[in-house]
Amino acid sequence: MKPRESDKKSASLSISVLVSTGRHPITGRPGRADQDSRAVELAMNLQGGSVSLLHAGQPTEECKEALRGYLGMGIDRISLIEQSEHADITEVLTKTLKSSNPSLVLAGTKAEQGEGSGLLPFLLAESLGWSLVSGLVSIESVENGQATILQALPRGQRRRLKVRLPAIATVDESAERARQSAFGPARRGTIETISEASHIDETLASFEIKKARVRPKRLKIVKSSSARDRFKAAAAKSGGGGGQVLSDVSAQEGAEAIFKLLQEENVLKL
């Protein structure tokens, strides 16, 4: 509880989490969005933080049902900013965040519905003039108006960053898995609706949106002037063959051969 005592001006760290409605990856039923629920989990696990959830969208029954998934994680209330269909929510969220002025805003990397471009956090950071970090995995500490965080890199690697608050962070899908949503708290929690004027996103009308089709597999094209080479490439068996086989070697010789390969591939950290 140190940050609470040392940082008296902001009695506690206020965190806003922007949540969207998601779809179950297999059944397609509405529910929590995976990355957003991880963001909520991160915020709830942070010591001395007060968490508020924010959603902007159409106040349909389906949407409310999906939002109850977040309430089931042990959250009391969600603010739902009423917006019409195809609305651009950047402006209204900017306004809301400016007035509530949280130290940290968390959001998923990209939405599970609509365009899913992952652009909203960047637009908010630009219009609010706050710092932005992407691929957040965990928050290590928050002190003196700076947060030390871990950022996800490919292949499970992590990078430590220090970012000045207020900041907007997008949460990576390798962050800690969200806790289960419980039925009782999900029913008891309240969804507070706030009505705001909505700006219709006109560019969206020019988009042609359809069901995703399977991307064609890239063919292995062999560009060679000689027909023989092309035939050889087409008829070649995939994989196998050509490897170096060391039989009748001592364990030491074998180990050295492996060691050499590991060093060539640069995977060994000495």
């Binding site: 292949r155 220090k162 390798s174 890239r218 086989v245 074998g254």
Partner: protein
């Protein structure tokens, strides 16, 4: 008077294409015989058809037009034949417009994703022969790449500044804004990747107040009008839209450039790096416990199967190698390893750079699971098993012994290293 001396053995070898010394003998005979073609006095190539080919085993003349024997010549000759043919160099002196690409340059080299995006940029630049564009690549910090010219880059902006090294999105963004001001590219292309392109591309397009197309996986051309197809809603929908200025493209969005070379002319920016407000400090990469890395994205895996008898030793080896642990199905079924560590079609599909299989014979499901691995090392008792056939390096012998020797070797190198540092 010189006698023509025959060497029946050499002739026999020359007729017998399966003879181990056949290629060698053929190369010698070729060198000694007179040439079958030569340049005539009028500049015409003259050929003697009687000197082409060789007597086959049945007394019939055989002419090999496949280049098989020439390609098989021994020693350095074979390598020379395989040398890369020089591709034509294409120069664009006065481009009508510029397509800017900001590659990720992971480890200072163009990734395959970068090459795909450059291929897409090439498509955009070369679409209209009346209006030829140039592809400009922006490289930050430092690089090791030596094959820029083969990737389809006409112009290169190399911003050499150690502060731009590593993760520095704010500084990089301000330099990209400079390029926008000075060169005003018609399009900005980024790889939509976790390595940095996704973030930088979104930052730039927001700064330029352009609505970008993200997750682009295909370019479509309709009557000279570019459109693109993007993935949306978590891979669930496709969005077809007109092509904006900023494009964040997915992997395999276009074929990489392969036919021509390009000039890679350096471009200097007139403005120097301005002072930007830095709100993100990079404290460097964190040491990650390899055991905690998900198997699917681990870079280096030590996998054990039925041939492993002493599992403590196996775990110790994984610890020393700092490799993620994997297992075959047998090892998991027998209770030596948890289910989530199972590699293969029925477990996890892995994509490691190096995969060491200890005592795994290589069931087809397992081999499918390691299909995307770059290098496979097999340590096995049985030299005839499928894993040894798949492996890039196979050690036939006692798995335990080899592992122990490997651990000893690494410990020894580590201690040498630390001594070296101390001294």
């Amino acid at each position: 008077m010189s006698l023509t001396r025959k060497n029946p053995r050499l002739e026999w070898i020359a007729r017998n294409r399966l003879h181990p010394e056949h290629a060698q003998v053929m190369a010698e005979l070729d060198a000694s015989s007179s040439p079958s073609q030569w340049m005539g006095p009028n500049g015409l190539l003259r050929r003697d058809p009687h000197r082409v080919g060789r007597m086959g085993p049945n007394g019939l003349k055989r002419i090999d037009r496949s280049g098989l024997l020439a390609g098989q010549a021994y020693g350095s000759g074979g390598k020379q034949a395989k040398a890369e043919p020089q591709k034509p160099l294409i120069t664009i002196d006065d481009p009508a417009f510029i397509v800017a690409v900001v590659p990720d340059m992971a480890g200072g080299e163009l990734t395959s994703h970068d090459k795909d995006v450059l291929g897409m940029a090439r498509q955009l630049a070369d679409a209209d022969p009346q209006r030829q564009g140039a592809v400009l690549a922006v490289v930050f910090g430092s690089y090791r790449e030596t094959r820029f010219e083969h990737a389809g880059i006409d112009r290169l902006v190399f911003l050499e500044d150690e502060r731009l090294e590593g993760y520095s999105p704010e500084r990089r963004l301000s330099r990209l804004e400079d390029i926008e001001r000075e060169l005003t590219p018609e399009r900005w292309l980024f790889p939509d990747s976790q390595l940095g392109g996704a973030e930088l591309g979104r930052r730039l397009s927001v700064r330029l107040k352009e609505r970008p197309a993200t997750h682009v996986w295909q370019l479509l051309s309709e009557d000279g009008e570019w459109r693109c197809e993007c993935r949306g809603a978590r891979e669930r929908s496709d969005i077809v839209r007109s092509l904006p200025r900023c494009i964040l493209a997915l992997e395999e969005c276009a074929e990489p450039v392969s036919e021509n070379r390009y000039e890679v002319k350096p471009v200097e920016l007139s403005s120097t790096a301005p002072e930007t407000m830095i709100r993100i400090d990079n404290l460097g990469q964190v040491e990650v416990d390899p055991a905690s890395v998900a198997l699917g994205e681990a870079e280096f895996i030590l996998s054990g199967g039925n041939g492993v008898k002493n599992w403590d030793r196996f775990h110790n080896a994984a610890l020393q190698l700092r490799a993620a642990e994997g297992a075959s199905r047998v090892a998991v079924d027998n209770g030596f390893m948890p289910r989530e560590r199972q590699v293969g079609a029925t477990g996890t599909w892995v994509s490691a750079r190096v995969y060491i299989a200890v005592g795994i014979s290589g069931a087809i499901q397992h081999l499918q699971g390691i299909e995307r691995c770059n290098k496979v090392v097999a340590i096995n008792n049985d030299g005839g098993c499928d894993m040894v056939k798949r492996a890039d390096l196979a050690i036939i012998g006692d798995a335990e012994g080899v592992l122990e020797a490997l651990v000893e070797l690494i410990e020894q190198k580590r201690s040498e290293e630390s001594h070296h540092e101390a001294a």
